[in-house]
């Protein structure tokens, strides 16, 4: 088991290296560099001085030296300077990373709270009216574009009823660490979480429903029924146990999906998270920030998949490896 986890982690290292290399190359291929962004255009600086600064910053070194320096800095937490914000990228990310993580986690929990019971109902009483209703809801949420739905929610509950704030992640007047601060944070989370979750449920419901319908017909379920155990226990101990397995395993992956999928929701609700920053940075061509964000979300996907593999190997005895 330990060997498996260690090997799985070892596989991650080359994946991350490859990802960083691709990002580095792409960033280099972009027009302009740190010097041109920060200083160029300033009439007081001559072309020779520019070159000198470039030389000092190591921008004329061979690519592998630059790459290893960039990577080394990155690992130590120095992701470079944002030349739009004139701030270290790390500082820029610090608060937003927390916000996005909070939003993703909340979305994940809420979407499971909705999807798992609905998926179970639809699967267990498959072809009943409840099932048809749930499947209808599913089609609706798959067919509705995310931004339309989110805008609608924002308009109705935020603007029209004025129940929830229209943007931000916390009331500016709330003091950090106070009870009001926590309540305000939660209050700001409600709309983005709900609209994210309502749409994220469709996949889980569909998956769970289909898996239950399929598992119901398996031979071991016949064996369980032939044992004369109550129908409720046939479901909990046999069918659900098997059908929830892939859902549990998908958890690690799901959370990274939400992190990278937060772009729309955060933009619509002006929620200060990574997604919103990403959109801003692209439009202002703030490439240090963009590449740091791509690196982070890429790493999140890799870590998430690893997490999924490890969870699956823990919950499924067939994959448990000595």
């Amino acid at each position: 088991m330990l060997t498996f986890i260690m090997r799985r982690m070892a596989i991650m290292i080359p994946q991350l290296l490859l990802l960083s290399l691709i990002i580095f190359v792409l960033a280099k291929a972009m027009p302009g560099d740190a010097v041109s962004g920060a200083i160029q255009g300033n009439p007081d600086v001559s072309a020779e001085q520019l070159e000198e600064i470039r030389g000092k910053m190591g921008l004329n070194d061979p690519w592998y030296t630059q790459y290893s320096r960039w990577l080394g800095d990155f690992v130590q937490g120095d992701m470079g300077m944002s030349y739009v914000h004139q701030q270290p990228v790390t500082t820029l990310l610090a608060g937003r990373l927390g916000n996005t993580f909070l939003l993703s986690l909340a979305t994940l929990i809420v979407s499971y709270l909705i999807a798992i019971p609905l998926g179970i109902i639809a699967g267990r009483w498959h072809q009943s009216w409840a099932d048809k209703l749930i499947v209808g809801y599913n089609y609706f949420s798959i067919a509705t574009p995310l931004f339309v739905f989110a805008l609608l929610v924002l308009f109705v509950f935020g603007f029209y009823f004025n129940w929830f704030p229209l943007g931000g992640s916390v009331d500016i007047q709330a003091e950090g660490g106070s009870w009001e601060y926590v309540v305000s944070k939660a209050h700001h989370l409600v709309l983005p979480t709900l609209s994210g979750a309502l749409l994220a449920t469709a996949g889980t419901i569909q998956y769970l429903r289909n898996d239950i319908i399929e598992t119901k017909l398996k031979d071991f379920v016949k064996t369980a029924r032939a044992k004369g155990i109550p129908e409720r226990r046939v479901y909990t101990d046999h069918i659900l146990r098997n059908s929830l397995l892939p859902i549990a395993a998908f958890l690690g992956y799901e959370i990274t999906l939400l992190i990278s999928g937060s772009i729309f929701i955060e933009s619509i609700y002006s929620y200060p998270g990574l997604g919103q920053l990403f959109v801003q940075s692209i439009s202002t061509r703030d490439f240090t920030v963009v590449s740091a964000l791509v690196m982070i979300s890429g790493a999140a996907v890799i870590v998430g998949t690893m997490l999924s593999d490890i969870i699956l190997s823990i919950v499924d005895p067939r994959i448990r490896i000595e």
Binding site: T3, M6, R7, A10
Partner: protein, 312 residues
């Protein structure tokens, strides 16, 4: 049967599969699926390869047709060593060998028409106009006892026995000399099985086919095979004419296998049970004597002109 050079001669064939493990996922050991197996099949002969699941009989068949790579050994077909050939050259040489699979439900592509299924080998090897192709396929379908217009139907429109005939028609398209039949009737009901077995015997005479008949069903093998080889743990432990092996089994494993065949006389069941028990006791007692000091099963030794057995 007069002595002639064999159609297929498998010599010291080994097929090993790596077992991977440890941190680096390296091959740490091998499964010896087929471990030093030699046998010959004459033209027009039916050779039965018999054994229980995991004994290596299917691997052996698949290695001959090239679905598994031989680790070592020779597969001489018409005098040419197939084990050495690769790619196109091998495919050209093996067109005289065709395979029929166990499950007639799974082995035919359900989305293709019977015409396309049966014509596929033709398209790979021969240039034919669509008319010629159609005629060839319809002739074959009639040969295997199906209507000519069966060509325009899909596999799911046929019963299990008919599907197995389609599989056989497909194998026959290139006029092969050898058909490797891997459990061809195991998935079929008794009455359908009878149809397919009769039919396989008919086309054997008609096309002078040789069969490598791979099966676990000793009743069927006894019925259809001229010679049989008993496989156990990747090796042949006994080989001989079918009647020899059945009426006079020498290796204890063969005895055990034969004693396991259900007795069709209800009145004999107690006697059969006693035989089975005594063979089982002998088998358990003498189990260690099957192997040489390296833990390998012994090579076959001739005990008569046609009968060999793996003993020290």
């Amino acid at each position: 049967m007069k002595k002639m050079s064999p159609l297929l001669s498998v010599q010291r064939l080994k097929v090993y599969f790596p077992i991977r493990g440890g941190f680096w996922h390296r091959a740490i050991d091998h499964t010896r699926a087929t471990d030093d197996v030699s046998f010959e099949i004459m033209e027009g002969e039916t050779y039965g390869l018999v054994g229980e699941s995991g004994c290596g009989k299917t691997t052996t068949g698949r290695a001959i047709i090239g679905l598994h790579k031989a680790t070592s050994g020779k597969i001489l077909f018409d005098g040419i060593d197939l084990a050495k050939l690769r790619g196109k050259e091998r495919r050209r040489r093996t067109k005289d060998i065709q395979m029929v699979f166990q499950d007639p439900y799974a082995s035919l592509n359900g989305r293709k028409k019977v015409l396309d299924i049966v014509a596929e080998p033709l398209r790979n090897f021969e240039r034919m106009s669509p008319q010629e192709e159609k005629r060839a396929v319809q002739t074959l379908l009639e040969r295997v006892g199906l209507d000519a217009d069966a060509a325009y139907r899909y596999p799911h429109q046929f019963s299990g026995g008919q599907r197995q005939r389609i599989g056989i028609a497909r194998a026959l398209t290139l006029n092969p000399k050898l058909i490797i039949a891997d459990e061809p009737v195991s998935a079929l009901d008794v009455s359908v099985q009878a149809q397919v077995l009769n039919f396989m015997q008919d086309i054997q005479k008609e096309f002078n086919l040789a069969y490598l008949f791979i099966s676990h069903d000793l009743g069927v093998v006894q019925h259809i095979c001229d010679r049989i080889g008993i496989m156990y743990r990747g090796r042949l432990v006994e080989e001989g004419l079918a009647e020899e092996v059945y009426s006079n089994p020498q290796h204890l494993y063969t005895k055990r296998l034969i004693s396991a065949i259900p007795e069709m006389e209800p009145a004999q069941r107690l006697a059969k049970r006693r035989v089975r028990q005594s063979v089982q006791e002998q088998y358990e007692g003498a189990y260690d004597q099957f192997f040489d000091k390296d833990g390998k099963l012994f090579d076959l030794k001739k005990i008569s002109k046609t009968h060999s057995v793996a003993v020290p």
